[in-house]
Symmetry: C3
Subunit: 399 residues, 3 copies
């Protein structure tokens, strides 16, 4: 996208109804309007194009972006860091091990204590079903309270960096990858995407990517097929939502119990392991009871059950079933690649290798998606600000 | 405070005799003159007002602020990070676990090694009685040596982020909260503040807040009452100092062994647990001997002794004894709230809840106090620099 | 160096043939031409002089510098942080404990995932013989691939922050210290430097400093003597290289098995412990086999063997053998100082104390060397950019 293209994209953004994004959080894609989702895509692309031209979209001279990672992370951690840095914010990590949180401090208090000079708070909390998203909302409510009562000079925006329900920075990056791959948001209508379970020798992987993908792609008029072995269901609420959204967007949604069926005629395949919803519920319960014997037993049982479905692997044979035998393969990474990162896993090595660079590009949209979410929540008139940044041509670097 | 108010505050600052602060450390409030303390309050308020107007008080285009936390921290860590960021400095944490310090390296050496491009060094070292402040002075002396001998291009300023003696960033924030609450520094004269011990189910909490509060508030002409059960004394030197300072400032200082007596007629109450001075001495000795049996025995003995004083709780009943039954409740947070963070603790839940937002605001001054301490130690003519920043109106953010 | 001096240095830099440095890595000094090494010295001195004048050489408005430390580090970590900050980059640490790397992810993938907005990647990986430098090259090749295939908008530069073969940021800082000490790069010709083993009560120290010193100083026309007890050899390839380089540069290289012989007539001594090459090979093998019994046995054997050479200590007696009894003592720090950091170690306390400030200054060049390596790899026309920075006189700080 050249300067003319960026101007055009900014004008398109200016026409969108996105007042609701200002000083608001990004917790679930399905809470956002179609216009708001489109605005995120617009801004992510504008920022990416600006950076390619070495125009700096630095909004802030100073200010903090707080990160709270309750689970390990590489990609998302670096995406958040890159996004914050691009906008001029400094990341301060809230490392619960180095804090006094264990002391019995309330979420309400911590949320305010870390936010005196914060513009954004990114949170990953994906381990406990029923808890991650609830924690984010508790933080958000605490920030509302602190701002209303004069504790905070501004209300920082919360960005969901993966919870038990959704992984919006991932799925929005996935969608942006598709938009670029197929040549536009409107080109996604009628495309078939197979979001399927795949075998993995590990256990307890979150459901949020699968849920997030069907929760978002059904908004975009796509034919979404969720495929998994019997029993590997996702949250019923998300299935209901997907069905309803598909009807509204002119797409479709179905659940099948065969990988081959899901792959047949698909334009896009997204094979990825997850733990069944019911297992995650049981696991959450055992974890809260600190029942380590029960947890071990559950893990053993699950891994054995998983083994019944080792044929849920994205092989060359499976890929032959897809449209023109050449569906686009997607993954949030890291993938369990058979013979590379494990003996047998989600995807055959030759398939992964062929699409490896595509998956890297897919991941490469995430920093811009995060930056777009932050920017849209901070600026009242994002299009005006972006136009003035573009015409100001502040250089990101000395040449 | 509007722009006119800021100009006025800067002019007031310009009239203060604070030459001694330039390239000097902030280790103990009682080493600073009244003018110097007032300058910190001035600058903290100026910075806070500038930020509220989105004028950026960024002093540095680049430069490091080093943090050395030898104990867990949330509030102070984030305050230091926010202060550094506001001034344009980047925090580099000296994590002793990831360093080669265990190797037997001298403090003298480490202090220089981390300081080649540092402007400020914040240190928390509050665990060992007789050691924390001494460590800070050893760092400071090492920096003097390194600067004098041409190792360091500038002499970074050391800021005490809590030691065994004092917690100046906390107590200065506390005082600024009082100044804003009561409408001016002069309004604090004659106000009664009850700094009291309170029961907590935990053990070994530092004495530095209690010592810091009596060490500072007696400077401000306040009637300071230190209340604790028999045996829970603070450092004798600090008591002597408080007595002497109170006499000089026209305030008063007394020690009482009854919470009710301390609270009676108080304008402000600050109930907070700490370990008796003698226990901290014993603990420091046992720790240095790595006597884990002795430590366990000491902890058990202390917790049992603490239990004799569970009635040292800031209850609604106690609050009724205060002036107009409505003293301002203060706490450095996190508080041990009965029924919230523990079964029985320092403060009754309904009391804490009524003052919760006040305690959050109290904490909210800390980033500005830290920034003021750094700024005043770096600039030879702080008032001139602040005026030029104000009139320059460099924006902190794009709107 | 004043402004005129800086201009002169920039003009000298402009005359150097250093096209090969642009978008290239800094992995081993012996892969660089003499002109390229000289350019690093030039730029480091230019940056140091600019900073002393408070002219900010900030190249970047935003951008990340990634650090990957697979071993503990203080000096190098802070040097990298300071260098990045000086150039306007923000350090994002790739902490393998907090990432999903253990998951079986490929180096190829991780290298791309952390690099979407990175300009430089600093890596320390010095524990395993045959692995550290290989890892850096694997990262570099992955970045080449990612950039070529459109995953990365730019190819970040890899800087070796210590590997199994070389420690170029250390040795280049060492050389810059010598240049300043003796008054110019040309003054080093014919100077005798004794890089010797020294006794230490610890075990398993990397060979990279010793190898790096002989690998670099033989380029500079120096008379390099490598001294160690029999069996404490460094990598044979590095010895061959040193011999060849010395012949080319008009210097000399010899290996001796007596500390006294090495010290005799030396202008510079660099006594430092390391583990013999053969031991490191055995250790690497045992580590890869997770043979903890074998490792303990090896450590015991080595420490016992070390004890046979406790007289390899840099004492006052030894120093008397050097030129005019006053060779310059060097160390990469921290040193094992007898009676200070250990009972008996590499250097006598009185010797270390006399040269302590010199070793601190030696360390102080490292941030500028790292910054120079990054700058030279990022800028196509570094001299032009530096001249425009100098004349622009962007202030690093408010006065």
């Amino acid at each position: 996208m050249d300067k003319t293209g960026i101007r055009e994209a900014i004008r398109r953004l200016a026409g969108r109804r996105i007042e609701g994004m200002h000083h608001n959080d990004f917790l679930l894609t399905w809470e956002k309007t179609a216009e708001e989702l489109a605005a995120v895509f617009d801004v992510a692309e504008i920022l990416r194009a600006m950076r390619a031209m070495d125009v700096s979209p630095r909004l802030y001279d100073s200010g903090l972006a707080i990160s709270i990672f309750r689970d390990n992370s590489t990609r998302t951690r670096f995406s958040f860091a890159a996004a914050a840095n691009l906008l001029g914010l400094t990341v301060q990590d809230m490392d619960e091990e180095k804090s006094q949180i264990a002391h019995g401090e309330t979420v309400r208090e911590t949320a305010n204590m870390v936010s005196f000079m914060a513009e954004a708070i990114g949170i990953r909390d994906d381990i406990f079903l029923g808890q991650g998203n609830a924690y984010m909302r508790e933080v958000a409510a605490s920030l509302d309270d602190g701002f209303r009562q004069g504790v905070l000079p501004t209300r920082p925006s919360v960005v969901n960096l993966q919870c038990d329900l959704d992984h919006p920075t991932q799925t929005m990056a996935d969608a942006l990858h598709l938009i670029n791959h197929f040549g536009g948001l409107d080109k996604l209508k009628g495309k078939k995407i197979a979001m399927t379970w795949a075998y993995s020798p590990s256990y307890g992987k979150p459901l949020s990517v699968a849920q997030g993908v069907v929760g978002l792609m059904t908004r975009l008029g796509m034919d979404v097929v969720l495929g998994h072995p019997e029993g590997y269901t996702v949250l019923p609420e998300v299935e209901d939502l997907a069905r309803k959204q598909a009807a509204e967007s002119g797409g479709s949604f179905q659940v099948v119990n065969s990988m081959a069926e899901a792959f047949t005629g698909a334009d896009i395949v997204y094979p990825k392991s997850w733990a069944p919803f019911a297992v995650m519920e049981e696991r959450t319960k055992l974890l809260s009871q600190r029942d380590s014997e029960g947890l071990k037993e559950l893990e053993k049982r699950c891994l054995e059950n998983n083994k019944r479905f080792v044929d849920w692997e994205c092989t060359e044979e499976m890929m032959k079933l897809t449209r023109d035998q050449s569906a686009l393969y997607m993954h949030c990474l890291p993938a369990d690649i058979s013979g590379v990162s494990c003996a047998q896993g989600e995807v055959q090595a030759s398939v992964f290798e062929r699409y490896r660079i595509d998956t890297y590009k897919e991941a490469g949209y995430k920093p811009y998606v995060v930056a777009a979410m932050i920017l849209l929540s901070r600026l009242k008139h994002p299009a005006d600000a972006l136009m003035s940044i573009l015409e100001g041509e502040r250089s990101r670097c000395v040449r």
